[in-house]
């Protein structure tokens, strides 16, 4: 009776006692790492009290994934990590595709893959569009520091490029597939590219007629990626123009329409013109290409930062060879180059020169170079008479200038730019969106003031088909002109558009919603291992977890803690209770009672 009464009351007692250690098992990426996290929880369940989320008062935390989580709040110490990155034969570390691209040129998809080089089988990769392999490649050998990496963990990393040839405007989903090893292990990652047919806006401005500029303009006018507006000042108040070209370069509002300005005969620019160009570079974030065609000095030099120029005149045109990338080259006999490249400037192309005495090839002058002016880019060409060598058989005149101006215009800052942390999402997945408003961002920076976007109304909406979501909140990020927010993917699969409007400018950024989306997994195992090591833990390979529970136990100090417990909830009370009932029954039978 007493036992039954006490059990009914169920008293709670708080005492200091030793129990199962409390371990939090936290998947770094809830989508990708949940299966492995479940496996780890199952493995630890016998010896530990496991909870599937962060808990600051847990005895230990086990992070499951390839990298540190974005936030480490609530992660208790000691910390352990379990990753399957080591066991994976191949992994796509990153895939870099442009968010938008012209339909008139191929699209480069750069990627970095990591794979177990010990397998000694080639890494093959392919680019898929609508399930069709549109490009493929193979890597036979890689450079890996095998001397310091244990044989079991030899991993090689390779950077490569695949190319997609767009055929029409629209949003294109591409998938990079890497395959490696005898088992044909694969890794996949999706990328989204908005293919457009909108030309970049270029202004060619000649303060006086210039052959160099004329022929560069003609080359640009043949490029479908560009829309070329031009003005050539032939005399005072007399000019030849194509399109709605501004009459002066000091009108910032007029210049803001253009992504890049190509200036012929820059020595004829006035101080006001140069000031206008500088504003265009700093406040518009545009690009300026100066096509020098003579050695005349002028106010333009203050943009370049060059103190001393060097002039060379060679009888026959010397090749002007690009420093990086494309092998197409110009040719020029009159070369005007800075004696010393200004601070921060980048060489784009050098004159190909052979020393006369020894015959050894020496590095020629940097005839084509670029530098930054604020957020803008300034490109200077000192190939004064490259236009004389513009025949296709002689040089790649058209191609070089088309590529150079397209590249310069492409980096011009748009009025509103939107960056998504992830553009390929699973339904309901959340991602970070960053919005930059150029006018506030660059004007503030140029003026040295921290003017924000208070005066600019910014709205962000997610559009799926014809339906528009509720406005998405974005908050100032601390930088002038920059806002940050969070957007959650809708439930339905398909293409969604993030529409951002600011200061009368509107931009659309596509998002792909697909539950079967694949994503590159950045390599954070090194950082992860270092971080857990500083917190008394270790990084374990998911393929070899047998020793992991023991390691976890060894790291946890067996400490008693104050714990509230209910003694009457023990099943052992059944025994005395049944024994008492049986004894009572036996005594009653002995006493002749029923």
């Amino acid at each position: 009776m007493a036992i039954a009464v006490v059990a009914f009351i169920d008293p709670a007692i708080t005492t200091m006692r030793s129990g199962k250690p409390l371990v939090a098992v936290v998947p770094v990426n809830t989508h990708a790492d949940s299966a492995l996290a479940a496996h780890v929880r199952e493995m630890l369940d016998d010896r530990f009290l496991v909870i599937p989320s962060r808990f600051a008062r847990a005895d230990a935390t086990v992070l499951v994934g390839d990298a540190l989580p974005l936030s480490l709040d609530g992660v208790s110490t000691p910390s352990f990590a379990v990753t399957d990155a080591i066991a994976r034969s191949v992994r796509l570390v990153s895939v870099r595709a442009p968010t938008s691209a012209s339909v008139h040129a191929p699209v480069r998809i750069d990627f970095t893959a990591e794979y177990a080089s010990a397998a000694e089988s080639p890494l093959s990769f392919a680019l898929l569009h609508d399930g069709v392999i549109v490009d493929r490649g193979i890597v036979d050998s890689v450079i890996a520091d095998r001397a310091v990496i244990p044989a079991s963990a030899r991993r090689a990393r390779v950077n490569s490029t695949l190319t997609f040839v767009p055929t029409q405007a629209g949003t294109v989903r591409l998938r990079v597939l890497a395959s490696h090893g005898m088992r044909g292990d694969t890794a996949m990652a999706d990328a989204l590219v908005a293919v457009h047919d909108t030309p970049l806006s270029i202004l060619v401005f000649d303060p006086r007629p210039s052959y160099q500029s004329t022929f560069v303009r003609r080359a640009l006018e043949r490029d479908a990626r560009l829309r070329v507006t031009s003005r050539t000042v032939t005399s005072r108040n007399i000019s030849t123009s194509a399109g709605r070209a501004p009459s002066r370069l000091d009108d910032a509002e007029e210049l803001a329409r253009f992504d890049a300005i190509v200036v012929g005969a820059p020595d004829a620019l006035s101080d006001r013109d140069v000031a206008g160009l500088e504003r265009f570079l700093r406040e518009r974030g545009g690009s300026v290409v100066l096509l020098l065609d003579s050695r005349a000095r002028g106010p333009f030099e203050r943009l370049t930062g060059v103190r001393e120029w060097r002039y060379r005149d060679v009888d026959r045109g010397t090749r002007i060879v690009p420093v990086f990338g494309d092998t197409a080259s110009l040719r020029a006999s009159q070369q005007y180059a800075p004696a010393v490249l200004p601070d921060g400037a980048t060489a784009l192309a050098r004159a190909h020169r052979t020393t006369s005495d020894s015959g050894a090839v020496a590095k020629g002058d940097v005839v084509l170079w670029a530098t930054s002016v604020g957020a803008g880019r300034l490109v200077v060409s000192g190939a004064l008479d490259a236009w004389r060598f513009r025949e296709r058989e002689v040089s790649a005149f058209d191609r070089v200038w088309q590529q150079l101006v397209v590249a310069a215009a492409a980096i011009a800052v748009p009025p509103v730019s939107v960056t998504l942390a992830q553009s390929v999402l699973a339904p309901h997945e959340e991602t970070v969106v960053n919005v930059s408003v150029r006018s506030a961002l660059l004007r503030g920076a140029a003026n040295g003031s921290a003017t924000g976007v208070a005066a600019t109304r910014v709205s962000v909406e997610l559009v799926v088909g014809d339906s528009v979501s509720a406005p998405i909140r974005v908050w100032p990020s601390g930088q002038p002109g920059q806002l940050v927010g969070s957007v959650r993917a809708p439930a339905a699969s398909g293409i969604a558009r993030l529409v951002v409007t600011a200061g009368g400018h509107r931009t659309e950024t596509p998002m792909l919603i697909d539950s079967a989306r694949k994503r590159a997994s950045p390599d954070g195992t090194d950082v992860l291992a270092a971080w857990v090591a500083t917190r008394g833990g270790q990084l374990s390979d998911a393929s070899d977890l047998a020793a992991f529970p023991r390691a976890l136990e060894a790291a946890l100090a067996s400490s008693a803690r104050s714990e509230r417990w209910h003694p009457m909830r023990s099943p052992w009370w059944l025994l005395p209770f049944v024994l008492a009932l049986s004894t009572e029954w036996w005594l009653r039978r002995r006493g002749g009672l029923a």
């Binding site: 442009p98 191929p106 040839v165 055929t167 194509a242 974030g285 930059s436």
Partner: protein
């Protein structure tokens, strides 16, 4: 001497055994040879359709195999007794012993003489009675042996039969009755589906080429010399054929039931698409044949010796000449022509003639010739010159002649060197002469035009237009004009910029250059432009008028300002001081619309094709349902650029994909997509490199600004 009675029967037995073994070896060898012939037939040796040649190859292989097998087994057969013993152990060595005894005895009786009916035992090492007994016993044993069982020929016969049957099948597949039978079987299986069973293509080159007629069967790509006749013999189940080429579409009716014939000229790269049709309108799978037409290259001719201009003082000099010419098919004529140019001032007279050549023919395609140009016969005087050039023709009827570079031999006038500063630049003089030559050639062409075919006249006129443009180019360069960079694909280096020319013309008309000589030159250039345009459309009479006007203007220019012309031969720099010196009240700004870039039609077509192909390859519907679309697509693709080989390969991939099963077809289409993407990629702009982030650009700009500020601060002049 004891006679061994059983010797001869025993020998006969062994001879029979050796003969049987030889026959078996021949059978085995022939079977192996026929197997080789079968494999060769599968590999296409000899080409399909050559039935008798295939039979001959099979027989040769069989014979070679038999001989080889006989050679391999000859050693075994020479010890036939051992073979018998090995196969019949019950002989207990008696046959070998008897054979050796008989051979010993035969050796003792000097071989051939022992072929008598009886063999004696007198000279054997073994006692005669023993030898007789051994032979007797051996004979008794072998009588019980059956050679058919001892040397079974069954395996060899089966092998020979099987291999012969395989070869027969491989040969018979091209034999008419079997093809007919095969077609009949397919007709029974699918009676309502039109199809092409056999496509025989015969390419007959033009007779002048002396090339053999080529026949191919079921080929997807053919090459033919221009001017060839392509004859198609088609057999299949169809009521008519729909034949598409770049020229258009035509429907072909059968000659007899199921047999069609079609003749096409090979005049340009393209394709032939043949679609079988039934009267009900049902169409079958199309056959697509890519046609590559090989042009007949014009002959090449050059003057090897002296191979340069000569400036002579001796009017009696003799110039040794060596000429070489070659052609891809065969040369017809080789001549050396000269033009005597005599006169003074700007009044030249021209006389033409031919120098006899001694021709040595290495073969029909390569000729060498030598000759002598005796100046005495031309009665040249100082200042005169002779222009000579080699002219060669190939065998193509109506083909224009090819000329070598022209060289001059000039009799230098005494004291001419001293007057260099006041004389016409020799190069310019040549230019003036060149214009006169253009006039002369045009006159000659007008004289011949009535006897010439229209196309030859047009070709000759266009050649003259090229010459006219070359002459014009020299003067435009002299005037400071520039090559135009907006040339199309068909453009030529000598096409000149009208804008640059017009720019200089403005200067003259504005009176800034008070130089009548230059104005005359400008008018001459414009006349040359008109002449070139008229020559391009074979308007010879009008062109001649323009040419003569140009010549007269040139003479005018030369007579007035020779010294100016010499100065103008150097590259001109722009005189910037002359700029902005006009009357501004007359000047107006010019405004034009932004020129829209024109995307190359070929690139556009390729891009569209890539989109279509990717859609088909990635589509969910079975490839089988899209066969017709694939056939049409392959034709369209070939039509984009018929002579471009990579595109031909893609077209073949697409057209043959429709004949595969769904999986194979998809893989093949995927390969086609990649190949086509590669073609589009190579014809479009390079992929732009990645764009740096806004943050990186801002940071870089800020860093550069900071470094410049600090540099200004530390320099003495920049200290604040």
């Amino acid at each position: 001497m004891t006679v061994i009675a059983d010797a001869e029967p025993l020998r006969q037995f062994l001879r029979n055994a050796a003969r049987r073994m030889r026959f078996i070896a021949i059978g085995e060898g022939a079977a192996a040879g026929l197997c080789v012939a079968f494999v060769l037939a599968l590999l296409g040796v000899p080409a399909r359709g050559a039935v008798w040649l295939a039979v001959l190859v099979a027989l040769l292989c069989a014979a070679a195999g038999a001989v080889a097998r006989l050679a391999v087994t000859s050693a075994v057969r020479s010890n036939i007794a051992h073979v018998v013993e090995r196969r019949a152990p019950s002989c207990r060595n008696l046959v070998i012993t008897a054979d050796e005894l008989l051979q010993e005895r035969a050796g003792g009786l000097n071989g051939p003489k022992t072929t008598a009916a009886h063999t004696t035992a007198a000279h054997t090492t073994a006692p005669p009675h023993v030898a007789a007994l051994v032979c007797h016993e051996a004979m008794r044993v072998v009588r019980a042996l059956d050679l058919r069982l001892l040397f079974p020929a069954r395996t060899a016969v089966i092998a020979l039969g099987t291999s012969a049957a395989l070869v027969a099948l491989s040969v018979a597949r091209d034999v008419e009755p079997l093809r007919v039978a095969s077609s009949a079987v397919r007709s029974v299986i699918s009676p309502d589906v039109p199809r092409i069973d056999e496509l025989r293509i015969t390419i007959t080159p033009p007779s002048y080429s002396a090339r053999p007629v080529v026949s191919v069967r079921d080929s997807s790509r053919i090459e033919a010399l221009i001017g060839s006749r392509i004859s198609l013999q088609i057999r299949g189940r169809a009521d008519s054929l729909l034949v598409q080429t770049l020229r258009g579409t035509q429907r072909i009716a059968p000659n007899t039931a199921g047999a069609f014939r079609l003749d096409l000229p090979a005049d340009a790269d393209g394709f032939i698409s043949i679609t079988p049709m039934l009267a009900s309108g049902t169409t079958g799978a199309a056959r697509l044949i890519g046609v590559t037409v090989i042009p007949d290259a014009p002959p090449r001719v050059r003057i090897v010796t002296p191979g340069r201009d000569l400036f002579l003082r001796d009017t009696q000099a003799v110039i040794d000449l060596a000429v070489e010419s070659d052609d891809d098919l065969g040369l017809a004529t080789l001549q050396l022509r000269y033009t005597r140019v005599a006169g003074s001032g700007e009044r030249f007279t021209f006389n033409e003639g031919t120098i006899p050549l001694t021709i040595s023919r290495e073969n029909s395609r390569v000729w060498k010739a030598s000759g002598r140009l005796a100046l005495a016969a031309l009665t040249l005087t100082p200042g005169d010159l002779v222009v000579y050039r080699a002219v060669s023709t190939d065998r193509r009827p109506g083909a224009p002649a090819t000329e070598s570079d022209a060289f001059i031999a000039e009799i230098v006038s005494p004291g001419g060197d001293a007057a260099a500063g006041f004389a016409i630049d020799p190069e310019l003089e040549r230019s003036a002469v060149s214009q006169a030559m253009v006039v002369l050639k045009t006159e000659q062409l007008i004289a011949r035009m009535s006897a010439m075919p229209a196309d030859s006249l047009r070709a000759a006129s266009m050649e003259l237009a090229v010459e006219q443009r070359k002459v014009r180019a020299e003067f435009v360069f002299m005037m400071g004009g520039e090559l135009l960079d907006e040339r199309g694909h068909e453009g030529h280096l000598d096409d000149l910029g009208e804008e640059a020319e017009a720019e200089a013309e403005d200067d003259i008309l504005a009176g800034r250059l008070e130089n009548q000589g230059r104005a005359a030159l400008m008018r001459a250039i414009r006349s040359m432009s008109r002449a070139s345009t008229l020559l391009n459309v074979a308007e010879l009479t009008d062109a001649l008028t323009a040419e003569k006007l140009a010549l007269s203007q040139l003479e005018l220019a030369f007579s007035r300002t020779r010294i100016i012309l010499r100065a103008l031969a150097e590259r001109e720099a722009l005189d910037l001081s002359r700029r902005l010196s006009g009357d501004l009240t007359d000047a107006r700004s010019a405004q034009r619309a932004v020129s829209a870039p024109v995307t190359d039609a070929r690139t556009l077509a390729l891009r569209t094709a890539l989109s279509t192909l990717a859609t088909i390859a990635g589509g969910s519907s079975s490839v089988d349902t899209q066969r017709a679309a694939l056939d049409v697509f392959a034709q369209q693709l070939l039509g984009v650029d018929p002579s471009f080989e990579p595109l031909q390969a893609v077209s073949t991939l697409v057209s043959t994909a429709s004949m595969q099963n769904d999986r194979e077809a998809r893989l093949q289409l995927e390969r086609a997509v990649r190949a086509l993407a590669g073609i589009v990629r190579s014809s479009s702009h390079a992929a732009p490199s990645s764009v740096p982030s806004l943050e990186a650009a801002r940071l870089n700009g800020a860093l550069i600004d900071a470094r410049r500020r600090s540099a200004v601060l530390i320099t003495p002049g920049g200290a604040r």
